[in-house]
Subunit: 529 residues, 2 copies
């Protein structure tokens, strides 16, 4: 749009002190990393006069996406879902919704308000999860930034720093300061003279100073980067007293590299669909011609040269359905209980996938007390069984809010919570919360909990294979057996994420394309090795 002449360009480069030679090199280099994602797999279009049929088992994210892509290619799709609802672990509950826990069904008691919801499963999307972002964009799921990290939230460990919660920003700043001080000392003592020139050692000392906010003599004495103990709007700031090096080393927070902020899937900014993660499910359903057959529990899968036949139970009766292809999203550890004629190796592969355990509590809080403490989203980390507290970052300054009062994957604690009644869990979570936020319990109006390993039709989440089983079976399971394709995050390298589920669907459809490319007559048998 802007008409930049070469002369203007060069005179500007000159004014900016840049080198046009350097610049030309840079422009010629093609500096940006290649973007490897170019949208979903395009399936070879079906013959409209002889539509192939596909069966999708399980209306989770992988099943929904597979169905959508197959319909786009002209397939006739049937989707069977064991639960009373579609979405799988993409589950958002609001007032009146059911958490279908085995033996402990719970009804959500939140007030009937749009902003009071609980994402029981996936709750955040990073900018590099291109597949889920593609579907959010293509299917018009409105997104907003979700604060996954708040530097004003807390670290808390009963056994560290006297059991006092510590603002993440203070701990983070002190750790940088203390380690920079050590580095400065080492550089000053010529520790690196074998490795670096004198000039570079001097740079290293300058680096340490900048990185850790050290004094001119290389001392860390606290830093304004973590704020001030006095009113910095009116007076010179006074940094907090830093923790001792020994106390830092004795603390637990640095295990895992200062936790959340460094995990690639949690790299800021994260996003969430406005109004709840199940907007993704609703968007798929809106765009599918096929609605899932609900309450349909698969009992038998029979693979043949002509296609796949599935028997399912619905309303106490058995039904049978045949299709040219079957995409199976059922948790693999259920397959041992479903009659099938798969090869022994394929069965062994399915059996190698193990259930994961994850537990969450959500509380309706009558006041957003965390906002009065400067916390507008993010996560506090604690050694308490609840492990994490999440503060909502949407609907800022509303009266009430839904807080995640527990996010637990430590097996010791998931087992403890799984063995409790829903009522006991809420009480236990409240006791934990009190240690980070005194007075926590008095804000709780009601709550609901979800132990994923006790959920009907799921019985787990975040599936795992042993390293050995992975070597033996993982790539086999990525390929179809006959016309039966396994899908779901379980068939990805990234279980527990919608992006993994979509990647599994993508690679299954690539396999389908291969099958079709093998030029075997549609409707006939094929095996891709």
């Amino acid at each position: 749009m802007l008409n930049i002449t070469r002369r203007q360009f060069l005179s500007y480069v000159g004014a900016a002190g840049g080198s046009s030679a350097l610049l030309k090199t840079s422009l010629a280099l093609g500096m940006m990393p290649e973007d490897s994602y170019s949208g979903p797999v395009t399936i070879k279009p079906a013959d409209p006069g002889n539509k192939p049929t596909a069966l999708i088992l399980g209306a989770g994210i992988a099943g929904l996406a597979t169905a959508l892509e197959l319909e786009k290619a002209g397939y006739h799709v049937t989707m069977l879902e064991a639960s009373f609802r579609a979405g799988g672990r993409n589950l958002t509950v609001r007032n009146g919704d059911k958490i279908d826990e085995m033996g402990n069904p719970q009804i959500c008691q939140f007030d009937k308000q749009d902003n009071l919801f609980f994402n029981c499963g996936p709750a955040r999307i990073p900018g590099h999860h291109r597949r889920i972002l593609h579907y959010c964009k293509a299917l018009n799921v409105p997104l907003q930034v979700k604060a996954n990290s708040s530097k004003l939230a807390y670290f808390h460990d009963e056994k560290s720093l006297g059991g006092k919660p510590k603002r993440i920003i203070e701990y983070h700043t002190d750790v940088r300061g203390l380690m920079s001080e050590l580095l400065w000392k080492s550089a000053d003592a010529n520790q690196f003279d074998q490795l670096l020139s004198e000039e570079d050692v001097a740079k290293l000392m300058k680096f340490s100073q900048a990185y850790g906010d050290l004094t001119e003599n290389g001392k860390y004495i606290g830093s304004g980067r973590a704020g001030s103990t006095t009113d910095r709007m009116l007076e010179h700031p006074t940094p907090h007293a830093p923790i001792e090096l020994k106390a830092m080393l004795d603390s637990s927070f640095w295990y895992g590299g200062l936790l959340g902020a460094e995990v690639y899937d949690w790299c800021e900014p994260l996003m969430e669909p406005i109004g709840g993660m199940d907007s993704v499910v609703k968007a798929f359903l809106r765009n599918l011609q096929t609605k899932p057959v609900l309450n349909a529990q698969v009992k038998k899968i029979f693979n043949s040269d002509q296609g796949v036949e599935v028997t399912y139970e619905q309303g106490g009766k058995l039904h049978s359905v045949k299709a040219d292809y079957c995409f199976n999203n059922i948790p693999a550890y259920f397959m041992a209980g479903i009659e099938n004629n798969f090869s022994a190796t394929y069965q062994a592969g399915l059996n190698s996938i193990k259930r994961g355990h994850l537990f969450k509590i959500a509380y309706q809080m009558k006041e957003r007390f965390w906002e009065n403490d400067g916390i507008y989203g993010g996560i506090s980390y604690t050694s308490e069984p609840v492990s994490q507290l999440w503060y909502p970052s949407h609907d800022i300054h509303a009266q009430k809010g839904i807080m995640l009062g527990a996010y637990v994957w430590n097996p010791k604690f998931t087992t403890m919570f799984e063995n409790m009644s829903p009522e006991e869990r809420l009480k236990a979570g409240a006791i934990s919360g009190e240690k980070i936020h005194p007075g926590y319990s008095k804000y709780i109006e009601n709550g609901i909990s979800i132990p994923w390993a006790r959920m009907n039709h799921q019985m787990g989440c975040g599936m795992r294979m042993s390293a050995e089983d992975f070597e033996t079976y993982y790539h086999m399971l990525q390929k179809p057996e006959g016309r039966h394709f396994m899908i779901g995050d379980q068939i990805s390298h990234h279980s527990g994420w919608q992006e993994g589920a979509l990647a599994s669907s993508e690679q299954a459809l690539e396999q389908l394309n291969k099958l079709l490319g093998a030029k075997i007559i549609q409707g006939g048998a094929a095996h891709v090795s």
Copy 2:
């Protein structure tokens, strides 16, 4: 709400492996830092039969807040504003709005859409700016999270790493890795045996490993924390090749401690009013009985024992207005040109406040190309004159977006941009943008620029005092001279932030309370020392 018995409490503490003794200690400690902010100053209520009068000069944030608090206390307020609009540097432009630059008036050409706006002044609010957050809550200004930092955005320096833009997450991860490796080496070489026990040195090595994601032998070889060069959804991740230690030391990014992420005012999560920062101004105006008198330029301020008399020009005519108190929000460097009878010391104090320079460009982009690159908000940093590129984090996946194409405070570059025509600035900014995002120019539909030091009625922003002048004058200027109070971010320790402006208002009103507490008859003379 939850009825937790002592027995349940203790049994839970047992199950969690905690110590009840420790717990009791923690609860008794009152672990949370004191919250020192308890809302605005309550001014001594006025006698309704004999309302005191107040004059506010300048309808910027400090003026608006002062007016609101005075009205709440029953004062009769008159507000004079030199510009055609209220808000001061809180300025959001949309289609058709004017940027009132001296000699270069510009009209915003953005499409007429709610999501296409440009916050020319303040644009973000951290969770610890309690004063501005108080007003947002009290005056119903809806907020959303603003991604101020994106790890997928870029660092770019012509002179570092071959001039190639580098994803922030890669650079950040490599720096942690490389410095942790050095620390590990030093610990391994007993560099710290005077300082730490053998056990603590072992912990330090473990710490280095966790912090930098080192191998078991203390080597940094790249890290999955910065993603993978292969599809990590389907295969084992392959970390990027780390930069060399020497290249890291030669690079410029670590000056200032890896820039933005460590500045306390930019600590995540930041927030922004939905639809533009000027929602704050609109909210004040909605809640004020007094509307500002616009286009009213102050010519004379006369302080007397009975009050303050101000002469202003409007529509070519001079007007005079008297009040019991005057709160003066006019940039102090204009005061030398306004006739007054202040003491020589007070005048010298006002003269000690110097103009700051800041420059911004905003472009309307016909596509949100950054989202295709995984960037959903945050800032890229560059050695180019434009200094920073900001990506909007609101209205994700919309067709178009307003990008900040320059955010400049380096005097070398602000001067350069100030001396250009608006058209030249847009072209120069486009050339810079190309170096970070090849193809950048072709997305630009139109743009607008703001050099704050050339704005009518402002002529600067982010005022500064020398350290010496600060010692001499700052605390004097926080106190009234007679019944004349200086306000504005210029009379705070934190100029350039709305929070500083509000702090100045707060302390002026505290001074007013002192004056009133001196039990001098209202309407009579007073001097607070």
